[in-house]
Symmetry: C2
Subunit: 232 residues, 2 copies
């Protein structure tokens, strides 16, 4: 395979990034998975990311970064994760689980890693349809980051590469993502979506991420393989 | 002071970012200094950053990130730092001290921090004239990142802020930066530029950063306060 078909895939351990990775592999990319340990309150998603990469036979790398120093989110700070919100609530403004500049930080790290391993393609599992209202999940943001990336890095400036940020799920509903994952034979039971799992890693079933995930499986007419906490 | 006059200043401990911080203060910004500990081989520059922030009475924050996992640079890996290069050599291509996507990663972190503390302005001491040929120090890159930033973050998308990336030194020669620093009464002896200091933190005097710094003081007609290693 030519070096130009190498890709870095940002892997969070969730449903979306697992399907994005499978999509990249399906399209013939030789993939390296990059996960970011950013001081999140639980490690369940990183474990899931490692399981997913392993199950798809892809090398897995973790970058550690202490985003608690940056602060400002229920995912890194001691702020309560909201529970039981309706899809309409989720559309109404950006929730406290928003991590300031998270995708910009993640894409910047992926860009550095891509340049190091000679990849010109980056996959990110963002989704602008069934999502929590984060601004850095929208197509116009992805396009703007791609433009900046091509001015930032040596390989692009020297004309050896043209970086492309792929967001293959950006226009898909959660149900379509579930179907695509099943079609690509991703073991979705390995993925983890919950923002607030219990000590054993079981999903709460009530945060935005759990609710969107449940809705996705239900609308796809597929059994939900998630292990939820009993007292949900 | 209004919240809209808050700024985050990326502080590396070098000459340029110290002068950029002084410039931001001079222009009336209430500043927070952000340094990034990115697995560099020496801690001398972080100590310098802390000294500079303290001397200018500015709060100082460090984000830790392990860029060795990303790799690909003499500043993070075990690659020899080049010595004794002429200005013409430096213009001829990007050296091994280039850290993949470094300014993109730093600006992304500054953006997250800015959003958290309610700042809409970010200062970075990049310089496109007397520099080592890094692509992410050019004005077109800075403008592209600014455009992406304004699509990425909650405060901008909700119309509460318009992020601006300030690079006040971008068109200045090293001599002009030295003069500006002296004019703003920055204690330049607190700054550290060397890529390869000895165990006591003394500058090597021969890497690109040392050579540019020496040239800057010489051309500014100012005494160089740098402590160089004796056997230089």
């Amino acid at each position: 395979m030519s070096a130009s078909k190498r890709a870095v895939v940002l892997l969070s351990g969730g449903l979306d990034s697992a399907v994005a990775l499978a999509d990249a592999l399906h399209n013939g990319y030789e993939c390296g998975a990059l996960a970011v340990r950013y001081g999140q309150r639980h490690a369940a998603e990183l474990k899931a990311a490692r399981r997913v990469a392993h199950s798809l036979g892809v090398p897995f790398k973790v970058v550690r970064i202490d985003l608690r120093a940056v602060g400002g989110s229920a995912l890194t700070d001691r702020i309560d994760v909201p529970k039981g919100r309706s899809p309409r609530d989720m559309e109404r403004g950006i929730p406290v689980t928003y991590v300031p500049a998270r995708n910009t930080i993640f894409l910047a790290l992926a860009l550095g890693y891509a340049e190091t391993i000679g990849a010109a393609d980056i996959f990110i599992g963002v989704n602008a349809l069934d999502y929590s209202g984060y601004p850095d999940c929208r197509p116009e943001y992805i396009a703007a980051f791609e433009a900046a990336a091509n001015l930032a890095v040596k390989a692009a400036v020297e004309g050896r590469a043209r970086f492309q940020i792929h967001a293959p799920l950006i226009d898909m509903t959660k149900a379509e993502i579930v179907r695509r994952g099943l079609e690509l034979k991703v073991d979705l039971s390995l993925t983890h979506s919950c923002y607030d799992p219990d000590a054993d890693g079981f999903a709460c079933g009530r945060c935005d991420a759990c609710l969107l995930r449940k809705k996705g499986f239900a609308e796809a007419g597929a059994p939900d393989p998630t292990q939820y906490a009993e007292r949900e």
